[in-house]
């Protein structure tokens, strides 16, 4: 087991290096001089040249990249062009907001999706099944930012139940959580339904029923634990989608998270911050994927026996 985890962790290194290299090249070929961006339009050519030298912008691309990776190993993501502070500090300051947002979105998604999926499977081909899957389909089709705007107008501006912007209390994360979580809810509900349908048809479910066990208990005790395995995978994979979706959600609800930081830095051509944010998102995504695989083995003894 440890060997497997270590192998996966080691494999993450070349992938992350590849990601940084690609993003680094893309950001570097972009038109515009970062030195000019920092100093503003009024700067003299001498001052710009001096700053370019300080930042090492005149070195070949690979040398610059090498320097970046060297810093990376020490946990140094470089200096923000705009705030002049370490990038890592700027990101860390914004982690809680994005974390709370993803957390509330995941909770909302799971709490709605699993009962919806089970209900649809148990009542297969009835009106309830159709309605549940239609809700899920709407969830897949609705743009996060549009749902966010609807929620904002109705629940924040009209009814004033929740604040429209900011991130200082749990109330600030309810509407963004719904907007962001609704999309993941749909995928989780669908996979729960289909895996539940598969499990319900198994022999041991028939056995449990024929020995006189109440149906409700058969579903919760025998079917559900087995049906939830694919659900866990999809929930984990959805976190990747949540990270990308947080960019949109944070923009609609003016939440000061990493997603907003990316957009602001892109507009300000603050390359080290953009790189840092994408690196953090990618790293989180990779680690979550690994955790999902480990959890998978943990909940399913068959897989555990096979690989560990």
């Amino acid at each position: 087991m440890w060997k497997y985890i270590a192998k996966r962790l080691l494999y993450m290194i070349p992938v992350l290096l590849g990601v940084t290299l690609i993003v680094y090249i893309i950001m570097s070929v972009a038109p515009g001089d970062p030195a000019k961006a920092i100093l503003g339009d009024q700067a003299t050519p001498d001052a710009i040249e001096q700053l370019r030298e300080e930042l090492g912008l005149d070195d070949p691309l690979l040398v610059q990249y090498g320097r970046y990776v060297k810093g990376l190993v020490r946990g140094d993501l470089g200096i923000s062009y705009k705030s002049k502070g370490p990038v890592i500090d700027e990101i860390i300051a914004r982690v809680p907001t994005t974390l709370y947002l993803s957390l509330s979105a995941t909770i909302i998604a799971v709490v709605i999706a699993i009962p919806l999926g089970i209900l649809a499977a148990v009542k297969q081909n009835t009106f309830i099944d159709g309605l549940s899957m239609f809700i899920a389909l709407i969830g897949i089709s609705i743009p996060i930012f549009w749902l966010g705007l609807l929620l904002l107008v109705y629940f924040a501006q009209e009814l004033r139940w929740f604040p429209a912007s900011g991130a200082s209390s749990w109330k600030h994360f309810v509407l963004p959580g719904i907007a962001l979580g609704f999309h993941s809810m749909a995928s989780i509900a669908r996979i729960t339904r289909s895996s539940m349908l598969e499990v319900i048809r198994q022999d041991y479910i028939r056995t449990a029923r024929s020995k006189g066990m109440p149906y409700k208990q058969v579903i919760t005790k025998h079917a559900l634990p087995n049906a939830l395995i694919p659900t866990i995978t999809v929930t984990g994979l959805q976190i990747g989608a949540l990270l990308a979706g947080s960019v949109l959600t944070e923009s609609v609800f003016s939440l000061p998270g990493i997603g907003r930081l990316i957009i602001n830095s892109i507009q300000g051509r603050d390359i080290p911050v953009v790189l840092g944010c994408i690196l953090v998102f990618t790293l989180t995504f990779s680690i979550i994927n690994l955790l999902v695989d480990i959890l998978y083995a943990f909940v399913d003894p068959r897989i555990r026996a096979q690989y560990f």
Binding site: I138, S141, I142, W146, L149, L248, V274
Partner: protein, 290 residues
């Protein structure tokens, strides 16, 4: 004259799939909406003059709520919202289909080559794909759009690159499953070349999951492009794009909510119909999955 009666023989596989698809009500609704959208998008220039009605500002007629003349109202610059939404479908469908076509050709080729040859070729291709899979797609598109400038060509490029690994993976795993079957071995035995085997036998048999993925991927791309434009990183004014129009409406949320409402409805309808069609295709192409 041939008087032999037709024997009840099995129709071809495409006919079978079409028959199963036609029986699926929600898939048919999806298909109908998709066709309607395409027809509307293609014929739009017959009803609206792009320069005169879609782009040109008409300040005297601004912020009109839906009425008889402007069925969906007008925007802050006095342009007819219905016309702009219709023209928006041209952009969304064009970007959606072009992107997916590009990703399909590049990703599909890479996946098919990796799956067919295996070994080191496969390893190099898939490790490279892993790097792209590790970056959430929207983020990658944002980066490229921001770095290279957000015109339609760059957006298509950005979105296509992030869609390539998905296609590569699907085609690769399909190819691996059909690679070992006997009819491939048979054609190799009669001396067919690798290229011939891939094109004539492997790809047609691996196509089912790809078709489904393609349909659903068009939906994802359209949603992403709307999101990027909403953030101001996609297609920008004055081009009518749904996400950008929705974002324009944000300033008038309290008084003219319809400005954000209708483009959103257009997005939902498009994505919904593509998803209905994609799900129906999945069931029709592989009845076992249902």
């Amino acid at each position: 004259m041939n008087m032999k009666r037709k024997s009840p023989r099995k129709k071809g596989p495409i006919f079978e799939v079409a028959r199963r698809l036609a029986k699926n009500k929600s898939a048919m609704i999806g298909l109908a909406i998709v066709i309607l959208l395409i027809v509307v998008a293609v014929t739009a220039p017959l009803f609206y003059s792009y320069d005169e009605q879609i782009i040109k500002q008409n300040i005297g007629n601004r912020l009109q709520s839906p009425n008889a003349e402007n069925l969906l109202g007008t925007d802050a610059l006095g342009r007819d919202l219905l016309g702009r939404i219709i023209y928006g479908s041209r952009i969304s469908l064009y970007v959606g289909f072009t992107t997916v076509a590009f990703a399909f050709v590049v990703g599909g080729t890479l996946g098919a080559l990796g799956g067919y040859f295996g070994g080191i070729v496969d390893n190099i291709i898939m490790r490279f794909m892993d790097i792209f899979l590790a970056i959430p797609g929207t983020l990658f598109a944002i980066t490229i759009a921001a770095a290279l400038g957000s015109n339609i060509r760059n957006l298509i490029l950005a979105l296509a690159i992030s869609s390539v690994p998905g296609f590569a993976r699907i085609l690769r795993s399909s190819v691996i499953t059909v690679r070992e079957v006997e009819y491939i071995e048979a054609s190799r035995a009669i001396g067919a070349s690798d290229a011939r085997i891939i094109l004539n036998h492997v790809i047609p048999n691996a196509l089912a999951p790809v078709i489904v993925h393609t349909t659903l991927n068009v939906a994802t791309i359209i949603l992403t492009i709307a999101g990027l434009s909403f953030l101001g990183l996609g297609i920008s004014a004055p081009t009518p794009e749904w996400g950008a129009m929705l974002s324009d409406g944000r300033t008038y949320l309290k008084t003219h909510f319809y400005m954000s409402l209708f483009p959103g409805v257009a997005i939902i309808m498009t994505i919904l119909s593509l998803n209905l069609l994609g799900d129906g295709l999945r069931d029709a192409l592989d009845p076992r999955l249902k």
